[in-house]
Symmetry: D3
Subunit: 237 residues, 6 copies
């Protein structure tokens, strides 16, 4: 029995509020249950030095949490003098995930930065950031295509992410915070709308797992990301 | 004529969405027109070293802006290694303003931290932070009183803030961004619900002003903060 | 009765020692009673990026305190990794104040940096920095005019600053440290020699004040800055 | 055909030089082909605050690269003011991996820090760090057991890691730098000597992969880590 | 011929203005020609952790330069986020030098921090800091002895420092800036009033020197520091 | 009697393992007894801004210690946010020392960076860094001469360094850690193969020394560096 009463393969309620802020080229507030992340996409006419002049585009991401997004207040990273290790790890993951779903030739030599800021956290913030971040990215690219700056759609397939884990001995889909803090094994699965894998991370903090368990989690994630892809397409249409 | 079509002494539409996030002891999303600030209040059973053992409470504030709250993306402060000068100046102002409205003996030896994070900016973010921050503080104090940890209400009078300035030669109330960037003189006025002054800051970047103009702005601010105080009371009741 | 025995509207003894250091284009050691600030003005043939090519000049300021300028030793900011919030706030104020008294077209596309370093502190260091900083600026501009790099005097009117406050229930001019640490209300007033206002900051740490009190402090400040302006002109002539 | 001429499932030559430095409680220079990592294990009688008094031990890791471990010189992290994102990500991974193989009750309330410093890099430094780091950890624990501070062996099973990837369309074991920089898909697999999984990370920078490919890489990794586990036991015996 | 017209073994005019600032337990403005350094000594009832409880005292030093102490403005170290390498090197030297002249048992378990801030630089700032710093230290210790907190004088012999170098092929005493920037070889010599050596640093940036030259510079330094010691005793009496 | 049983003027066993790492243009692992330093030389086609266009070359150095190079683990400098004062002092010394032995016209407008990383420390790490660093530099320059980028040898004479000190009342050559931590006086002597001096640093932490003692240490150092120069030439030939 899951604390939330959900079935083993049941995701939390998911919603996307597009246009949540007005300045960004794309913006979206994603809610996966009680996890709320504001995602914005910013288009800039510059690229990192290492691809300057290559004609290729770039997509990158930054991640942050408001100090009281969590149950107890965390110190604001701007006052500590640097982003913590967890933050750095997550934003690199988001950037890699979104880039994997982009045709960088079609995007052209410009950069899109996706900012994912967690307003409220209840587990799964990195997955929500990827899923919501893709919607913000989609909206920004739509704008580029509408004004004709981009001719061929560089986003062929949605990118979404979901966490799965072994909770109380059972494989479950979309861990919330009470489950996440108890789970012996958990993983983050990033997949395309057509079921291809982009990134898989499974780990067992202070424990181990079997290949069978790995396959059970993969099965759940395949189902979950397929559902998310449909919702992403509807939200950004 | 103001760009927004507002009368000279007309504030933008103001709203307070209390309970916007669930973890904080008090939370409130204030909207002053297109300026949106998420304010949360966190209660902690510790105080700064310099008042330890004094029996007095403490209220402090932190301020931040999401990178794309503004028209062009600003660099995330967590990645620059420190808070900028403007940020530091603003959060010190918010803290002083809120403390002025608190009976620190009645609060008892505990600290309340008010985080003000700008989700969308259109001028006047520091004033909105103070006005919304007081509502979050009020809600947190209500909780302390309800459970009996605080017996005498330490918040006797609301604290609110409004900006006024000379725009196109006329004194105007509640500058939005287009006005703020053109105004020759502008000021921030922090007052109590009963019309007492807490802090006044008037300045003329690269210019000067007269005492008459100062008095005109004071008059507008007195009217504006009185209106805000009524709305604050209604929101936190 | 003031601790120093001064009358309510009596400033401390003020002196300016110009040419205190030899390398700077302008330098001045200002003493307001026991508050001693070394101000130097440096001319550079570059301006901040945001005005490059505009033909306009720029004036900026930095502020520091020697570790033992105060009664107990403060940690050296160079060893803490950053300037503190108070320092940042003050140096931004000094810069705004001095810029307000400069005709930036007449100055031409160059930057003058005014460094204000407190050798000994006894209250009112930010006001002394502005008043002494203007003298250093005046001397540097004199040099530019003498060699013909600047034709029209960009400094039309002195800029000076004074603090006033409510001490023991009475409005008093030019707070020293014993008064400053007791005052319920205090303000910093920056004015031109001809009585125009540049910046007004009044605040009541943990308290409130009335508009009447505000006016009383304004009156004192108007008198005080007029006196300072005369002394500044004499010092830099 | 692999650039090195190795078979698809053939690891590079692996060696462990234990006792490479004399001060550490355990030390080991691991060479996986041209990738050389110096691993040291330090025992300290303190634990992080969050487990103080719990009776549990802690294992953590730090990772670094000498500036000229790579083909072109990288800036020294000590001079940049912080560890880069890649470094942080890797050292967190090493720490989690080693902790998973430790019985923290048996270890008792002490901390072992494993430092992994890359002297020469040719791909696969994080995997070599984990594999060599376990040997250093094993040697340090041996010392604790010899002097009787630890009674029950807290290291039941070796922990090793290997990278696998799809290179030129073929699944290959133990990528070296020329392969790593060309591989469309690559993964790091951390396993115990008895074939249990600790952490799996697979990603496709700017690309995607199928579940079949994932399974092929898992197969290779299972073989590779089994071989490494035997060598680790021999080295630390 | 020296640019200043001085004889080869002639020091610049030296003066000590004691009590230059009022808060410090000891203070002194030393002028060696156009090099002016403000030295203050602060007594604190705490010592560094590594000697806590040992009964021994500690003397340490910090060094800084005002931004416009030099011919062109240097960036303020507080804004760069750290003290530069040269600053760190100098303040460590000052601390070692002063400690060498202190009987730390007689001083008792307290710390004296000597701050040396260069108001104007013209070569030899580290030597002036040591010589003036010892006077500030002497004055602070006098205070401790007067109130009976210290019974036996911990300062048996003055500590002073002087630079010497090979300028235009000749050994010269007390280099000023024009000489220092041209000298092929230069050294800093720290000695006691009775002619004992505390620290010798000789170097030849991009060049070499002979043992004969070394001895010539030693001779000059021996004469110079003997003269300085007399002046120090007179200044602090 | 020295703890190691060495004669007063007997160095530790010295060895140079050239080519210890493969990527650097020159590399060398120097062992002076139990002190082991990995030195690499990197050639880059850029010079610091202050000599750009001058046709002159530049040699600079960086120094680091692995966290467990010492008896107890030191905190990794990359995690503290800056290099410590001792590190900065040492790497500036190494850079000056190596530059003194270089004909910068012959080198041509390019930079060579010598990284000295201490793998194991037992006293004398800065001297070993200079001596080993010169060998790495020699090897890198050999490469430049072989390919014809440099025509005239810019390294005319080896640069080596040795520490000497007064241990148990006797002048001794090449202090190891047990001697160094007890020595009342110690010095570092940097000399060329032909017996010229480059830098001399002698100090007496908390003590003093005589000119006679200084001369005894100089004599030992002259002998020691002559021996080292022969070994350097042999190693790099």
């Amino acid at each position: 029995m899951r604390p939330s009463g959900r079935a083993l393969n049941e995701m939390r309620a998911v919603s996307f509020e597009t246009g949540f802020t007005k300045h960004a080229e794309g913006s979206c507030l994603i809610k996966m249950g009680e996890t709320h992340v504001l995602c914005t996409a910013t288009i800039e006419d510059r690229v990192p030095p290492f691809i300057k002049g290559s004609g290729l585009g770039w997509v990158t991401a930054e991640y942050g949490m408001l100090p009281r997004a969590t149950n107890t207040r965390m110190r604001r990273e701007a006052t500590t003098g640097k982003q913590g290790g967890r933050t750095v790890e997550i934003q690199r993951l988001i950037g890699r995930a979104l880039r994997a779903g982009v045709d960088r030739v079609a995007l052209g030599e410009r950069q899109i930065t996706v900012d994912c800021d967690v307003l409220q956290a209840d587990g799964g913030t990195r997955c929500a950031s990827i899923t919501g971040g893709w919607v913000a990215l989609r909206l920004a690219v739509n704008k580029l295509m509408k004004i004709g700056d981009v001719k061929i759609d560089p986003l062929v397939d949605p990118v979404s992410a979901i966490s799965c884990g072994i909770y109380a001995g059972q494989p479950v889909l979309d861990l919330d915070y009470p489950e996440d803090s108890e789970a012996g094994v958990d993983g983050n699965f990033i997949m395309t709308g057509s079921g291809k894998l982009i990134e898989v991370q499974m780990s067992a903090e202070g424990s181990v797992f079997s290949r069978d368990q790995m396959n059970q989690l993969m099965d759940l994630a395949t189902q979950g990301t397929a559902e998310l892809a449909e919702m992403q397409k509807a939200a950004a249409s």
